[in-house]
């Protein structure tokens, strides 16, 4: 057992403890949290006096392990970009847990990620959720599949229309491909059901199985949409199809915040340390998260790693805080809200009894120069520690 003591604790759910304690069981779960805990004599003591403890960060839109960090094109495994509709592919089968990006995530205080395929295709494939420490991806996984990835806007147009001279060439084309796919998946579902009733042999089609999961609301559709009209199209499509969804990036959300608030949208906002190099993200602004939050949109911040180096996830949240996202909301946008959006709130996202002991030790208050990540723990085990150069 491990006893943390002396630190200021932000559990995110529940009161801040000025000098709190956390007891971690041998199963890697939080056994107790509070001001004073009597731990067994043999418990290992972790003295964190003057430090701050926050829950492990959760990045719900990442390409960790599938984008060739430092390995070049031989490891570019994020986009199966030949065919615009590839719902059968699964990110878990590209993700290399020994790629340096996983360590980068731990350095950034990220303990849980959702890894999604890229955005070359209108229907990109299945994402999954995993912890950031381990060497067998299946043992690290919390949920698979966790979502079906989709993409509107420039990327599918460029990849297919411009580069390969094949559909989609336009935004209209992208929307119609997505719509057609789901209608076909629905018909497939009816055929499958009929066959089940009649007992006739039925050949599973893995392409449609993914869409069927979305139509049955077993997993959400996560749609890449930067420009405001792409965001509106995403909502239109998902309402028509009656499916759960989230808006990925939501870069121009600040221009239509009221509409998004009315629709009770979940927005995955980011990345944001590079300058906009595409037209669709030209109106990237640091105040986006604050405006969306104020309008009632549930905001999760994302790295979209490698597009925002995941080492700097907490800094990205500090920027959102600086530009008006309230402190508590900024904290939740990288912990609790992503856990809720991913449906894993029972395991992670806050420091509560019974949950995984995933936490980050900071040198001072969050979002300050002093508050750098000093150590990252997953299930009670130290998986990264800062050593000054």
């Amino acid at each position: 057992m491990l006893l943390l003591k002396g630190a200021k604790i932000y559990p995110v759910v529940g009161d801040v403890l000025e000098e709190g304690m956390i007891l971690v069981g041998d199963d890697g779960k939080i056994k107790e949290i509070g001001k004073e805990i009597s731990a067994p004599d043999d418990a290992e003591i972790l003295d964190l006096t003057d430090k701050v403890v926050i829950p492990g960060l959760i990045d719900c839109h990442s390409h960790l392990g599938i984008w060739g960090d430092g390995e070049g094109p031989s490891s570019y495994d994020g986009n199966e970009s030949v065919d615009p509709i590839t719902p059968q592919i699964r990110a878990i089968e590209s993700a290399n847990p020994l790629q340096s990006s996983f360590e980068a995530a731990r350095e950034g205080g990220i303990t849980t990620v959702q890894i999604l395929p890229g955005s070359s295709n209108p229907i990109g494939g299945l994402g999954f959720v995993c912890k950031t420490y381990g060497n067998i991806i299946d043992e690290m996984t919390l949920k698979n599949p966790s979502a079906l990835k989709g993409a509107l806007g420039e990327n599918p147009k460029r990849n297919h229309g411009q580069n390969r001279k094949q559909a989609p060439f336009t935004r209209m084309g992208i929307a119609s491909l997505i719509r057609n796919y789901f209608y076909e998946a629905a018909e497939y579902g009816q055929r499958k059901e009929k066959a089940e009733v009649s007992g006739e042999p039925f050949c599973i089609d893995l392409k449609y199985e993914s869409g069927l999961k979305v139509l049955k609301k077993e997993i959400p559709f996560r749609i890449h949409a930067h420009r405001q009209d792409d965001i509106v199209t995403a909502i239109r499509l998902c309402e028509e199809l009656d499916i759960d969804y989230s808006i990925e990036h939501c870069t121009e959300g600040h221009l239509i915040a009221e509409y998004l608030g009315k629709k009770k949208v979940t927005a995955m906002v980011g990345p944001g340390l590079s300058a906009p190099q595409k037209t669709e993200n030209a109106r990237l602004t640091n105040i986006n998260a604050a405006i969306l939050n104020k309008a009632g949109v549930k905001v999760c911040l994302i790295t979209d790693h490698p597009f925002l180096n995941c080492r700097y996830f907490l800094h990205y949240a500090a920027i959102a805080y600086k530009y008006g996202l309230p402190f508590e909301e900024a904290m939740k946008s990288i912990t609790l809200y992503p856990a809720e959006a991913l449906g894993i709130r029972d395991r992670v996202g806050s420091l509560e009894v019974g949950k995984d002991a995933d936490f980050v030790v900071l040198g001072g208050e969050p979002f300050t120069l002093k508050g750098r990540v000093e150590a990252t723990y997953i299930e009670g085990r130290c998986v990264w520690k800062r050593e000054l150069y």
Binding site: Q277, T279, L369, R372, Y389
Partner: protein, 381 residues
């Protein structure tokens, strides 16, 4: 005349002045200190509780050449038809109305180095400009500041994919060596008035390099590319500065011996290429400790220029001192570009380029309150 009073002034060249004053006249710093005559000031800015630093300088950007938020139409960074393009000038491609300029001013950036990209082994001349105005020719501080050269992955990828040379590191070096050799001969022939010497626009553009009037500005990430850069420059006895220097922490002793200056970064960028996969804040921390001169850069738009202050702040989190971090984005950046006679520190006689910060410049929640370039307020929160 404009006076700034009650400020905590970080001069960079001469320590910190508490409760200090600065008087600006005709675009220059007229006086600075704790007992400055303010009688002739027509405007007084009270900076109580706030910090004043020199204007921030990002020594390596592609602002205006690779415009933000625009695709192909706004991308003029690489003349990638010939690996040798020394006749290109960054000045001819800079759109001063690139939206990034306003963002830079909001972020306290007052001077910048703008260079052609790194697709070509020899990419053309770079320029140092002020971050204001709509006429590039009026914004110039120094042109050219140097000749851009690239080693490593970029040229060999771009030309290798076209099935052209260079497609290896050996050929990157050979292409550069060939041009320097030809220019040496050309210059000698020209100065001797050789009959029938045809004008060679490549060699003409390289003459200032051979004459040591301007340095080569060399893109090199990997340790072996850094060493190759030094080898070639020594061989031809030319001046040089090094850009990116990602693996620099492996070569501290080697670089200490070189009379050069390194522009480190962009350190916030992901390690998407093999040549920058070792990107780490070790490099600036080691360099500061061992006395290898360096500045920090964003390579905008690779990392948005507005995050240069964040880059320096993260370097502090890794152990760089506050003073070294500020130097790395002001005076050392000016030295890198050879413009430190005009900008980079708050001294009498230098350009009145400065920033008034709401608090400690490196705190994540600090805002730029006022940016001043050439004595004019160009941004106010």
């Amino acid at each position: 005349m404009v006076g700034i009073v009650n400020a905590r002034i970080e001069t960079v060249s001469d320590g910190v002045i508490d409760e200090g004053q600065i008087v600006i006249s005709e675009g220059k710093i007229f006086d600075i200190g704790t007992d400055v005559n303010l009688d002739y000031c027509s405007q007084i800015i009270d900076a109580r509780g706030r910090t004043v630093t020199p204007g921030i300088i990002d020594a390596h950007t592609h602002i205006g050449l690779h415009e933000q938020g625009i695709g192909w139409e706004g991308n003029d960074v690489n003349e990638a038809g010939n690996p040798v393009a020394p006749w290109c000038r960054a000045r001819d491609g800079i759109n001063m109305l690139d939206e990034a300029f306003e963002m830079f001013r909001q972020s306290g950036i007052t001077s910048i180095g703008v260079f052609p990209g790194s697709a070509n082994v020899v990419g053309g001349t770079g320029i140092a400009i002020k971050c204001c105005g709509t006429i590039v020719d009026e914004a110039v501080i120094k042109d050219p500041v140097g000749m851009k050269v690239a080693l490593g992955e970029n040229p060999k990828r771009v030309y290798g994919e076209m099935k052209k040379t260079p497609s290896t590191r050996m050929a990157n070096a050979a292409v550069l060596r060939d041009l320097l050799t030809r220019t040496k001969y050309y210059l000698e022939a020209k100065s001797r008035g050789k009959n029938g010497l045809k004008t060679d626009r490549e060699c003409e553009a390289m003459i200032p390099v051979i004459k040591k009037e301007i340095p080569l500005i060399i893109h090199c990430h990997r340790h072996d590319d850094i060493v190759t850069a030094v080898r070639i420059c020594r061989e031809f006895d030319v001046k040089f500065v090094l850009e990116h220097v990602t693996d620099g922490y492996m070569l501290v002793d080697f670089l200490k011996e070189q009379d050069t200056h390194c522009a480190l970064g962009p350190l916030l960028s992901p390690h998407l290429k093999v040549e920058n996969c070792n990107g780490t804040f070790r490099t600036p921390v080691y360099f500061a400790r061992e006395g290898v001169p360096f500045c920090l850069i964003t390579d905008h738009p690779v990392i948005s220029g507005k995050n240069i202050i964040l880059t320096a702040a993260i370097a502090i989190q890794w152990g760089l001192s506050h003073e070294d971090a500020l130097r790395a984005i002001t005076l050392e950046a000016a030295r890198h570009l050879g413009i430190d006679d005009r900008v980079g520190s708050l001294e009498k006689g230098k350009d009145a380029d400065l920033v008034i910060w709401s608090d400690d410049p490196f705190e994540f929640t600090t805002f730029v309150d006022i940016t001043i370039i050439n004595g004019e307020i160009v941004y106010k929160r």
